[in-house]
């Protein structure tokens, strides 16, 4: 399983951090720091995997952002790369040519997307389109509730596209 997902800027600033195992806040900060030093120091041409403590770090750099996942030893590293890429593609589609600034200012949306993609450290949806659809439907729902066009009763019986 994926133990954590980190998005770090080139300066090591956290843009997104999701933890799927029980780790105290203090420990999280420590891990983030250590992972940042390990990953950011690696030259571009090296492979995308690093052995780190009892887990493997799979990372990929997209423009100025490092997408980092900590996975179990026996996990498929190549597939983890593919999951990261899928996340990036969904983000790209959602924001329309995503850049770091999008993620800085809409970090919560990035989290929402990630939550539709991964659950409990496992991939939950293999179709990018399905993820986008879900996020869109939920955004719409939020808009409607905010605009007041969906009342409480309507809201209760509201049901979006299935699957």
């Amino acid at each position: 399983m994926i133990r954590f997902v980190l998005l770090l800027s080139r300066q090591g600033k956290v843009r997104l951090a999701k933890w799927y195992t029980t780790i105290s806040q203090k420990e999280r900060a420590k891990i983030t720091k250590e992972v940042a030093t390990v990953v950011l120091a690696r030259p571009a041409k090296l492979c995308n995997f690093v052995d780190w403590k009892d887990q493997k770090i799979v990372y990929k750099r997209y423009a100025s952002l490092y997408f980092i996942a900590g996975v179990d030893q026996e996990d498929n590293e190549l597939l983890t790369l593919e999951i990261i890429h899928e996340f990036v593609e969904v983000l790209d589609k959602y924001f329309g040519n995503v850049c770091e600034l999008d993620l800085i200012f809409n970090f919560h949306k990035a989290y929402f997307i990630l939550d539709e993609l991964l659950l409990a450290g496992e991939l939950q949806e293999t179709s990018k389109k399905a993820v986008s659809r879900c996020i869109e439907a939920q955004d719409q729902l939020v808009e409607q509730v905010k605009a007041g066009s969906v009342t409480e009763t309507e809201f209760a019986s509201f049901s979006g596209p299935r699957g």
Partner: protein, 1629 residues
């Protein structure tokens, strides 16, 4: 004394006191003067006292009647004047000495003790004040009496009759500055005023104005006035003179009174109109009587001033008109004056004061002045009667003014109070106030209006709007130009409908109108006429609030607040601004045009408007209003969110069917104004643009004009589209136009009639507008009051916070920003306001991400989750997952919300809850909510099924007892059509198998299903939804492969079932892209892990070969990774890729290097070790430091394991030590030395190699190399120089070394700056050893050893002292320092382990942990060597040692550990082992710091613990052939620790193979097991195998030792597992 006193006085004067001139007191200070008077007073009093005493009055007890003395004194008092008391007393004493003395005595006593100084002060001050008051009152009475008389009234105020009785102004009389003073005595006062004009600035102004007027007069006029003034002046002077005379006659003490006045007024009596308010106030404060009088006076002054200033204003207006000053808008003023109704003022003011709401009231200076005066009047307490009285007065004042105005020109007369309102804006702000007598248009309206006002006032007082309200509508039209048909049909007609359903506010937006150039007078007229048109069009003032925007100042107030938060960029984007500013020219355009959307936003937000019926062109402004409201957090979200535009018919220009009918269009022909006369309408319709098509039609895009005219027709006739078409569709333009014109006229005529009616009664219209403004103001100010600017409620938006943080240049700045925001958030959380909770939590998440503490907001996330709205829940759950983890107790609180949400009918809400549960659920939550997840696992909704399945994984992990419930449900997910559910199902099954391996067996039956799914994935064509790089859903494929691996592992049948599909995957997957490789990678792993056939494995290994050759580092990495897993299964397959793998060790990427190194390690054998090791050694030199530890240790291990011969071993290890000495582990060094010791023929070679290594790089040598090399030099140094040195081995370079060189080398080692303590110890030992062997340099060696006697390093010093001491005994020296004998390797290994462990145990007990460990390292060698040494005679003192320590080996370990090893493996040898003196010398200081001499005395104390530690022996276990006995021992000084030697005996005839003993102790104890000496217990053996156990009992003395044993061995191929509990430990253990 006097000098000092003077100084003090001066000082006092300078600092604070009032300056009192002393010259009037005869050159001395007034106090001195007074003191002197007091002196006289005291003397006189004393004399009187003595006199009365002598007469005996009242003091009969003290003195008898002394007639003679009393007579003398009485006479003296009468005769002698007491001018100077001293002189008087002197004379008295001449006459009667006793009397004088008595008076002196009494005088002193009285002055000091009896005189009441405080009382004097109080009396003096009281008296002064009383006098002051009396004088002032006198003055005021006289003064005001005079003044009142002069003001022309016979009656005294407060009678108001006087003003109403004022004679009407004679219209024939020309206006003059003196008009005020109709009667003669008034004129006199005026004359005096003129005389004073220079002194008072206000009056000076008056005079100046009068002067200006004067100069404007013609000469004849001037002459007339001059004469008249002269007359008046003379008359006045005469009158004043007569009056003064009269006054003087009336009051005899007039002079004194005049003086008093002088003192109070500071000059001559002030003239009647010159009384400054300040002075009046001062007088008023004195007492009630004066107050009452002066109150009247002020009113009188106010009145007079009022009249005077009004007159001046008229003059000013006339003057301005004459001068035609540029910026003076006479029409504005005139208009305003016209609207302003006399008498409003008083009523308004009373109202306002009662409300206590002085909201920048629109009022001229005059009114304010009156207000102030009214307030002055009613001081000190403001009571309603006072107010109404003063208001009434002012009302009267207005009546006077009205009468004046009637007699003057109309414009000027109406101008009365408006002289300050010269600016249009200020004029606009004034709004009319309903007249009590105002009539309204309809009776019903009037009835409606009154209660509305009262209710609005009631609401106002409460300060909050009514709670339940209808939806609100706000709209307005600019009063520019006249309203036209477009306005009417598009907006106003629509409002008429709206007013029935909504609370409506319709305003004339005059503030918007002034953003463009305008004619003020026309604007004012248009404003009124617009309002009138509203009414005429059918808006009922009873239902809707009709008002003028500028009458409610709250609009501009809120607009300012909003403009402060509106980015200028937003405003510049407004299309209307762009268009209008382009038209007007960018430089000339007013700021108002830019900010006018903000004003519009404030209009909307002020009334919490729900609906804004405006045209399409205003949509952008509405959006802006919404955005602006979003930016503020003091406006509830709802208002802005629900504000929307609505619009009805869109009427186009008559001249152009594509542009809308506009007021600002140049041609009047393009629009039909509502007020156009009939013929104009007919004319305009006639000239409307048309086209050449036949007939009329609605929807032809090429005929916008037709559509427009039809729309107009439809609207005014009220027909439907079809009816219109049927009616006129067939007509030509020529027929239709008159018809349209008729319809229009018919429709507009009633409106125009009503308009005329409304306009006829201006007062009524004003009343309606005032009522509307009042109603609007109540709402508007309620909103403004709600704005929490003052309460600091303005917090940042999330975006702004992020921006702020990003702008921080330093960490400190960022901390500041976050700290500030954190404080704001805490405050917000404290206030419990839910409106911005979601935003606050989002900010909290951001702050959390920056790494700051956010625990204070955790509860907020829970509140969000508990809320009803989805948006809040969404943020809440996100916050929960980010801000909390499962360890926090707060999490428990969310369980109930989660349960509710899991049962929600909205799938997304359920999804959120599942996601949160899956990511952070704790064991308790898993238990509580597991059933819900289980239910959702079979939900009909795949979106929920997949989430539930993954959630179940987490639940299982947290709560394994849920396994049974999920075990059966999981495979059902495999029947799903949705990929994501399949994936989740496979994941869940994998997790279950990981949790409970037995489940794999249960799931094996599903292998065919899995294979089918996998096959269909491979075979299916392109699936757009799931395609990743040309591969169909690699995620699902990988997951299935992994599940197959788990299911097929160790099961041939299942493996067989899947072999086909595995082969398909392996051959059909495209390896060009990453997803394909991911699948192949997984597939290879599966093939290798399951029981697959050979062919398949070959396929897999070939794939790996391809991977390995790949240029992509990622692929190579996974290839190596897989190979290292495969190597155990199929080493030969891996062996083929050896060259590639070795290359990979040198890869630039550490991840690949590590993997490759592991592989190399796995691949090395005796056959290839030389080449491989050489490669690695070469690389060791080059590789980067972070990789060296790994590599060095791996090389060491390889060399130790596979070394073909000892020379190569020594060479390779030395090389490693040279290259990476710092990373080589100690045991590798020891193993090297062991090899050297045991290879007798290589001693010389080894020492030469060591010498070479040292001399090649002494400075860079690491401690491990130094240790090894110095040890070699010490042991075999003589071989370097002796005859042996010539015997070089093959391929060895010759070496020329002298004895001095060897010692010199050791000296250099000793002196290395980075030499550690062990290195120095080793060097000293080496030098000591070389002393007997290198006779030529022995003295030098001894000196070197002795030189370290004073070393600061204790161990080094000890060594030095010991060896120096040893040299004193030449007899034992050679034996002690002889060569180490060869050691048996296995025995060495066996002893090495326990001694190391013992050293570790001893470390805990020893005071100096590091020293002990170092020593242990040193002794470990010696111990091993000593153990195997042949028996040798030992010098004197040996028996003592022998007795103390039966075994050399054990004794060493023993003493180090301080424990007991009796009965250990070595203890089995009964004979006392030979004992090396060198070892003893080394160990002595460790045990006891005695000087060496003690060693040779009686049995050393070190022996004691060994003897004392002989403990009990118990039989722990006896079953079958096996018996286990425990020999227990305690360490002295640490009773909690028990060392146990377990001895295994086998009474059976077959050996017990694979023997293992496991032991467990209760929690309070700690157990450490050492490996047993052998894994097999031979047949018929007793004590042959032993094992050590160390137990530490933290509850020693409270709890006895208990142990549970688990013993397993195989007897004759059969596995035996035994368990036993050992409770028979003797007491004390």
């Amino acid at each position: 004394m006097s000098a000092a006193l003077m100084l003090r006085r001066q000082h006092l004067r300078i600092s604070a006191e009032m300056h009192v001139p002393s010259e009037s007191f005869g050159g001395v200070s007034p106090e001195r003067r007074a003191a002197r008077s007091l002196q006289s007073f005291f003397t006189f009093v004393a004399a009187r006292i003595v006199l009365s005493q002598l007469e005996g009055i009242g003091r009969s007890d003290l003195g008898s009647y002394n007639a003679a003395a009393s007579t003398t004194l009485r006479r003296f008092l009468l005769d002698e004047p007491m001018r100077d008391p001293a002189d008087w007393l002197a004379r008295l004493m001449q006459e009667n000495e006793m009397l004088g003395a008595r008076i002196l005595e009494v005088r002193a006593a009285y002055a000091v003790e009896d005189f009441e100084w405080d009382n004097l002060k109080r009396l003096a001050i009281e008296g002064l004040e009383a006098d002051n008051t009396a004088l002032l009152r006198q003055h005021a009475t006289k003064h005001f009496t005079v003044m009142m008389d002069k003001a022309g009234s016979e009656e005294r105020l407060p009678s108001t009759q006087h003003y109403s009785n004022l004679e009407p102004w004679p219209s024939a009389m020309p206006p003059t500055a003196y008009f005020l003073f109709a009667s003669d005595h008034r004129a006199a006062a005026k004359a005096e005023l003129e005389a004073q004009a220079g002194a008072k600035s206000g009056v000076a102004q008056v005079a100046k104005l009068i002067g200006a007027k004067w100069s404007a007069l013609s000469d004849e006029e001037k002459e007339v006035y001059k004469q008249r003034a002269q007359q008046l002046k003379e008359a006045a002077a005469a009158e004043v003179a007569a009056e003064q005379q009269q006054q003087q006659q009336q009051c005899p003490d007039g002079e004194a009174a005049a003086e008093g006045l002088q003192a109070a007024g500071g000059g001559a009596a002030p003239p009647p109109f010159g009384v400054p308010t300040g002075l009046v106030k001062k007088i008023m404060l004195v007492d009630d009587e004066v107050q009452r009088m002066s109150a009247d006076a002020v009113r009188a002054i106010a009145k007079a001033t009022e009249l005077f200033v009004q007159q001046l204003a008229v003059r000013a207006l006339q003057h301005a008109q004459a001068a035609k000053r540029k910026n003076f808008k006479a029409p504005d003023v005139a208009h305003l004056a016209g609207r302003d109704r006399v008498g409003h003022l008083a009523a308004t003011m009373t109202q306002r004061m009662q409300r206590h709401r002085n909201r920048k009231a629109a009022s001229g200076r005059n009114r304010r002045r009156q207000q102030r005066q009214a307030r002055d009047t009613s001081q000190p307490s403001l009571t309603p009667p006072d107010l109404s009285r003063s208001a009434h007065q002012i009302h009267e004042c207005n009546c006077v003014a009205q009468r004046i105005s009637q007699s003057m020109s109309l414009a000027a007369g109406r101008m009365l109070r408006r002289q300050m309102c010269l600016l249009p804006a200020a004029a606009l702000r004034h709004r009319p106030v309903p007249l009590p007598a105002a009539r309204s248009i309809s009776a019903s309206a009037a009835q409606q209006v009154a209660p509305e006002t009262s209710s609005s006032e009631a609401g106002d007082k409460q300060g909050k709007p009514a709670t339940a309200r209808r939806q609100r509508v706000l709209s307005g039209v600019q009063p520019t130009g006249s309203l036209h048909l477009g306005n009417y049909l598009g907006a106003i007609r629509n409002w008429v409908k709206l007013q029935e359903e909504y609370d409506t506010f319709f305003c004339v937006v005059d503030l918007h109108a002034i953003t463009m150039p305008h004619e003020p007078r026309a604007l004012l007229d248009a404003t009124r006429s617009s309002a009138a048109l509203y009414i005429a069009c059918g808006i009922d003032p009873a239902k809707a609030s009709i008002f003028v925007q500028s009458h409610v100042p709250a609009h501009t107030e809120l607009a300012w607040l909003l403009s402060c938060i509106t980015p200028i960029g937003w405003l510049r984007k407004m299309i209307q601004f762009k268009e209008k500013s382009k038209k007007a020219g960018a430089e000339e355009v007013g700021t108002g045009l830019l900010t006018y959307p903000v004003l519009m936003a404030s209009d909307i937000l002020l009334y919490q408007t729900d609906l804004v019926p405006v045209g399409e062109d205003q949509r952008q402004h509405l959006e802006l209003a919404r955005d602006v409201a979003e930016r503020t957090n003091y406006l509830p979200r709802r208002w802005a969110a629900s504000t929307r535009a609505c619009s009805s018919a869109r009427v186009m220009s008559l001249q152009d069917g594509t542009s809308k009918m506009s007021k600002s269009a140049e041609s009047d022909l393009s629009r039909i104004n509502l007020l156009d006369p009939t013929d104009a309408i007919v004319q305009k319709v006639k000239r409307a643009k048309t086209d050449a098509f036949e007939g009329l039609e609605w929807d032809n895009p090429e005929r916008p004009e037709a559509r427009n005219l039809l729309t107009i027709y439809q609207c005014v006739t009220g027909l439907s589209r079809e009816e219109v078409l049927a009616d006129v569709g067939g007509m030509r333009w020529g027929d239709f136009k008159p018809r349209l014109a008729d319809a229009l006229v018919a429709h507009l005529q009633p409106i125009q009639q009503r308009y005329a009616e409304v306009m006829r009664d201006e007062g009524a219209l004003d009343a309606i507008l005032a009522q509307g403004a009042d109603a609007a103001a109540v709402e508007a100010y309620a909103t403004l009051d709600n704005i929490s600017l003052g309460r600091g409620g303005m917090t940042l938006r999330l975006r702004d916070l992020i921006k702020q943080v990003r702008q921080c240049k330093t960490a400190a700045e960022e901390r500041n920003v976050v700290a500030k925001e954190g404080a704001a958030l805490r405050q917000a959380f404290k206030e419990q306001d839910g409106t911005y909770r979601h935003r606050n939590v989002a900010k909290l998440m951001y702050i959390h991400m920056l790494g700051y503490p956010t625990h204070f907001g955790q509860m907020e996330t829970l509140k969000l989750i508990a809320s009803n709205g989805y948006p809040d829940k969404r943020v809440g759950y996100l916050g929960l997952m980010i801000l909390l983890d499962e360890r926090q107790e707060v999490l428990m609180l969310v369980t109930n919300s989660l349960k509710n949400d899991l049962n929600s009918r909205n799938q997304y809400t359920v999804g959120l809850a599942l996601c949160a549960l899956g990511n952070i659920c704790s064991a308790e939550m898993a238990r509580d909510l597991g059933p819900e997840v289980e239910r959702l696992l079979v939900s009909p909704n795949p979106y929920l099924r997949k989430k539930a399945a993954l959630c179940a994984s987490r639940v299982l992990r947290k709560c394994p007892e849920m396994l049974d419930s999920f075990l059966e449900k999981a495979p059902r997910l495999l029947d799903d059509r949705s990929h994501s559910v399949l994936l989740a199902g496979a994941t869940l099954m994998l997790d279950i198998c990981a949790q409970e391996p037995a489940a794999a067996g249960y799931y094996r039956s599903h292998v065919p299903v899995l294979c089918r799914i996998l096959r269909s994935l491979i075979m299916a064509g392109f699936a757009p939804d799931y395609d990743v790089g040309g591969i169909n859903d690699p995620f699902l494929q990988v997951s299935l492969l992994r599940l197959l691996r788990v299911l097929g592992h160790g099961n041939a049948e299942a493996s067989d079932a899947m072999s086909d599909v595995l082969a398909q995957v392996a051959t059909n997957t495209d390896s060009a892209r990453n997803p394909g490789n991911a699948i192949l990678y997984e597939c290879v792993q599966t093939i290798m892990a399951v029981e697959s056939i050979g062919g398949l494995r070959v396929l897999a290994v070939n794939i790996l070969g391809r991977f390995l050759a790949n240029k992509d580092n990622n692929i190579r990495y996974v290839a190596l990774n897989t190979l290292s897993r495969v190597v155990g299964v199929d080493a030969a397959a891996v062996q083929r890729h050896r060259a590639t793998i070795v290359e990979c060790v040198k890869d630039a990427d550490i991840s690949i290097r590590r993997r490759a190194l592991e592989l190399v390690y796995a691949l090395v054998s005796e056959g290839n070790i030389r080449t491989l090791a050489q490669e690695l050694l070469d690389y060791l030199r080059l590789c980067d430091p972070e990789f060296k530890p790994d590599l060095a240790n791996k090389v060491c291990q390889l060399v130790q394991r596979y070394a073909p011969d000892k020379r190569w071993y020594i060479d390779s290890l030395l090389q490693v030590l040279v290259q990476a000495g710092a990373y080589v582990r100690d045991d590798a060094c020891r193993a090297l030395l062991l090899v050297v010791v045991n290879a007798a023929q290589l001693h010389g070679y080894a020492v030469r190699a060591a010498y070479r290594a040292l001399s090649a790089g002494l400075d860079s040598a690491q401690p491990s190399l130094l240790l090894v090399a110095t040890w070699c030099l010490g042991e075999y140094g003589e071989l370097l120089v002796g005859p042996g040195s010539a015997q070089l081995l093959e391929g060895e370079a010759p070496l020329q070394v002298g004895q001095a060189d060897v010692v010199g080398m050791l000296e250099a080692v000793l002196q290395l700056p980075n030499a550690t303590v062990p290195v120095r110890e080793y060097a000293l030992t080496a030098l000591a050893k070389l002393v007997p062997r290198l006779p030529a340099s022995s003295e030098r060696a001894k000196q070197l050893v002795a030189a370290y006697r004073h070393s600061s390093q204790v161990e080094v010093q000890t060594r030095s002292v010991e060896y120096s001491r040893l040299f004193a005994y030449p007899a034992i020296e050679p034996q002690v320092l002889e060569h180490i004998p060869p050691v048996e390797e296995t025995a060495y290994d066996a002893t090495l382990e326990p001694s190391e462990a013992a050293a570790a145990a001893g470390a805990a007990a020893a005071s100096s942990a590091s020293a002990a460990a170092d020593l242990a390292a040193l002794l470990g060698l010696d111990a091993g060597m000593a153990a195997a040494a042949p028996p040798q005679p030992v010098a004197a003192g040996k028996p003592a040692f022998g007795a103390a320590a039966p075994s050399g080996v054990d004794a060493l370990a023993d003493l180090l550990a301080g424990g007991d090893l009796l009965g250990g493996p070595a203890a089995g040898q009964p004979a006392p082992a030979p004992y090396s003196a060198a070892a003893a010398a080394a160990l002595a200081p460790a045990a006891a710091a005695d000087p060496l001499a003690d060693l040779f005395g009686p049995p050393a104390p070190v022996a004691a613990p060994a003897a004392a530690s002989q403990g009990a022996t118990i039989t722990a276990f006896a079953k079958g052939p096996l018996t286990v006995t425990f020999q227990l021992a305690k360490q002295p000084g640490s009773p909690s620790q028990t060392d146990i030697v377990a001895t295994y005996s086998n009474s059976g005839g077959a050996s017990l193979e694979g023997f293992t003993l496991q032991a467990a102790v209760p929690k309070a104890m700690q157990l450490r097991l050492e490996p047993a000496t052998a894994t097999a217990v031979p047949a018929y053996s007793s004590g042959g195998v032993s094992q050590r156990l160390h137990v530490t009992n933290s509850l020693h003395g409270q709890k006895a030792l208990v142990m549970r044993l688990r013993i397993s061995y195989s007897l004759g191929g059969q596995q035996v597992l035994e368990q036993a509990e050992v409770t028979t430990f003797p007491p004390g253990y």
